[in-house]
Amino acid sequence: MPASAACTKSEDLVESLSSLDTMARLKALRDVKNQIIGNKTKKLSYIKLGAVPRVVEILASDSDVPLLVQSAAAVGSFACGNDVGVKALLESGVLPHLLKMLSNSNSQVVEAGARSLKMIFQSTLAPKNDMFQGRRVDLILALLNGENDNVAEVAASVLARCCETEEHQKVLAEAGCLQSLIGLLGGSVKKREAALDALAALTRGNQEISSLLIDMEQGNAVACLIKLIKEKSPRTRLFACMCLLNIAKACSSGYQQEWDIKKCMLSTVVKLFEELGQVGEEAPGVLADLVTNNEELQKAAYEINAVEKLAEILHRGVISVRQLEGVLLAIAELCSRLEDGRRQILNLQGQYHIGMALESSTAGVRIAACSCIKSISRSVKNLRTSLTEEHLVRSLFKLLDDPSPLVQYHRPCSGVAKFTLMYCNFACVCIQLRIHESFSRAQYFNRYVSALGAASNIVLDFTPHKAVFFNCGGVSQLIQLARSMDSVLRQNAVWALRNLLYLADMMAKERVMRELTFSTLVDLICDSEEIVQEQALAFVRNLVYGSVECVQLIFAQDGAILHAVERQLCGATRPEVCVQGVYVLSNVAAGSEHHKEAIMEFVSPIAIGDRSASILLRFLQDMSNPQIRVAAVWCIMNLIHADSPGVLSRVLRLHDAGIQLQLQKMAEDPILDVKDRVRAALEQFSALGTSA
């Protein structure tokens, strides 16, 4: 019997949905339903024509079984994979009517209603909060325990979507759904998968519920989950792994044979990468979770070629956002401690895709890409070679202006002495982003702070990076931030600038000073906060280090900088400030005759009358601070450097100031560094022919 080929106009059909004649209503309903199933275009067009409220009306007020079944089917189809439809349905108040259908006496009606409910709950717009109103949770639980398999499956999938907050998880657990869900694990494949989905959602980040699960049925519940890792269906395997992971995370005291189980999960999850659909999408993210902070597992994963497989997925090109995020997170974990992993991902040209991901429109993907780079850059070799591509660095700096709310501060290395800087592990070349519900000013502010922290690392001694940094306006940004109202921001900005100047050439230094200006520098040295002062002085230290031309910079604006430094040295309480200040003096003293004299003027002034003790003495005698003792000795050594003309008079002055005596007292300083420096200085003194 061929169906009628006559084309009924869509508008007429929609009209007929409200017809008073039952048969006409039914026919229109069926026609609409058959037109929209599988057909996204038609769904949208019927929604536009206002079909949804009329269909919901039928659902709400009609009691005829065929009408109920057909309208439920239509509702389900409007909702299927279609957020526009879900929205329209929710706005028409469909939820209470669907829930009512679940208690209908006719099983066909119940099944139709259940199916549609499932469709709605697969959308992100699902009315999760509404499910906790009244006795709805009890209703869902009753369905979970009910006879109808299909309905129980739907109840489990609805529950799985309603576990977003800890509060929700608690309510559901207290209502007793855990037991029911475990019961479903022995059922058909679909029921089992829906139950596993729900269990994974309930245990996510929830220690209490995870513990409950462990204790359930004297450990049999967990034993059942472990068996399911080896099941035939890929979805079952994946969900079982997710559940076990959640439990393991919450209960770090571990359970027997945990390592073996985790290894088994590892190989299972890696195999699941190849699956199509949701399973293949979620599997990489699950791997990332599994190996977090576990070096042994990361190694094991590397050995079963996980990195290779992840790179393969990256190269596919067309992958979903969720999968990309998962893949990047997994790579980040596998490269976090393993040099092998880092090497492999670079060999497989992974950095290209990671770089692209830095510019993704999805914040989660950007986060994950940053984590990758952070992990890979832990290898100094990589920082110098594979990660120097300009576009990569540019993308990273674009993130300084990222619109995403919260950036977590990652502490840069706190290199103090020159040589430690070289060997530090430059952990962060990038900014870590975290998504938070509420956007607050403090969080926005934190973003800049960590971005600066990250920038400090990137500019340290790695010439390729520095050049790029200059070229993409990083300096200007930093200088602007150095003028910020907030002291932590200022501190970090100056910190980054200080690193920028480390071992930089004269041209770079001049460029920076042109923009920063000497008067701003003076302000920073005299900043109200000592943490900023410290960085400013360190900045000056790097600024004047090197050639005589560099030293000359400190005399700009009538020596304003030098005077500011001297002022701080006299008044500062924070030891780090003094250390940097003395190094400034030391670096200047390494300059020309003129420069040495300027320093002498400060440390050993030829004043007629009352001569206060040299400030250097104070530092040399400071037993609480070995660094300052070292710095002071360096300064002295530079002042009495043999190759300069006025050295003898300086030696005499320093001797008269009691410096040589003090040094002799320090010949057995407990700190090796200090002792060595002192001995070298004393040798210089004696070489110049003075005696104690």
């Binding site: 061929p2 058959n34 057909n39 058909s188």
Partner: protein, 230 residues
């Protein structure tokens, strides 16, 4: 290392082989289940019902659902696509909503039937209204769409490069795809177990051939044991 392959292979006579075979124990229930599985999956409702009565074997699914499924299959095999779609939607509205490729193939078959019946204007309109959006929604379908629409361009379809689309075997293909989807939605395996067992037999024989000389089963229908070749 040896004198040669044939002499290093173990030799088993037909007599010995038959004795070994008779030592293998099989349960009648298992065999009945295999038969029932075949009948149910392939959709032989009446045969399944009779078999259930005669052997007491429980079918894996409600035989009623098989009837529904067979009605769908029949509709497709008769070229009645609109009817088939309505029926499968009544059976389970989720199937076509969650299987875009299947849905596309059903629409494609609809177009083919319109062309076959010479209703070319309708076909053109249908292609525009129904198939083009599928191609727009999913670029993977564009190539097949183009092939199908090519039918419209040829007055004499027998010379057309895509003429095979008009074959009745195309209907079979579509019918099988739809049948498999329905089975999956009912949590039923879409393939019967019997063919897999036969494949296993052939594979096992190939493996054993490297190590022994023994009676083969070459004729799967009659399952006669051939004399072993030296």
């Amino acid at each position: 290392m040896g004198k040669g392959e044939s002499s290093s292979k173990k030799m088993i006579t037909k007599e010995d082989w038959e004795k070994k075979l008779s030592d293998v124990k099989l349960r009648k229930e298992d065999m009945n289940k295999l038969v029932m599985n075949f009948l149910v999956t392939e959709g032989y409702v009446e045969a399944a019902e009779k078999f259930q009565v005669e052997s007491g074997t429980q079918p894996e699914v409600e035989l009623g659902t098989i009837t529904d499924r067979m009605a769908v299959r029949k509709a497709v095999q008769s070229g009645n696509m609109e009817d088939a779609i309505e029926k499968v939607n009544d059976l389970d509205p989720e199937i076509l909503d969650t299987n875009p490729q299947l849905f596309f193939h059903l629409q494609q078959q609809r177009l083919i039937e319109l062309i076959r019946n010479g209703r070319l204007e309708e076909a053109l309109e249908f292609a525009q209204e129904e198939l083009a959006p599928r191609g727009a929604e999913n670029h993977a379908f564009l190539e097949e769409l183009e092939r199908t629409v090519a039918l419209l361009a040829f007055e004499d379809t027998s010379g057309c490069p895509v003429a095979e689309l008009l074959d009745l075997s195309q209907r079979q293909k579509t019918a099988s795809e739809l049948n498999a989807a329905i089975l999956t939605s009912q949590s039923h395996e879409k393939d019967p177990k019997l063919p897999s067992l036969l494949k296993m037999l052939i594979w096992a024989q190939n493996q054993l051939d490297e190590k022994a000389s023994y009676p083969h089963i070459n004729d799967l229908v009659n399952a006669t044991l051939e004399e072993p070749v030296a």
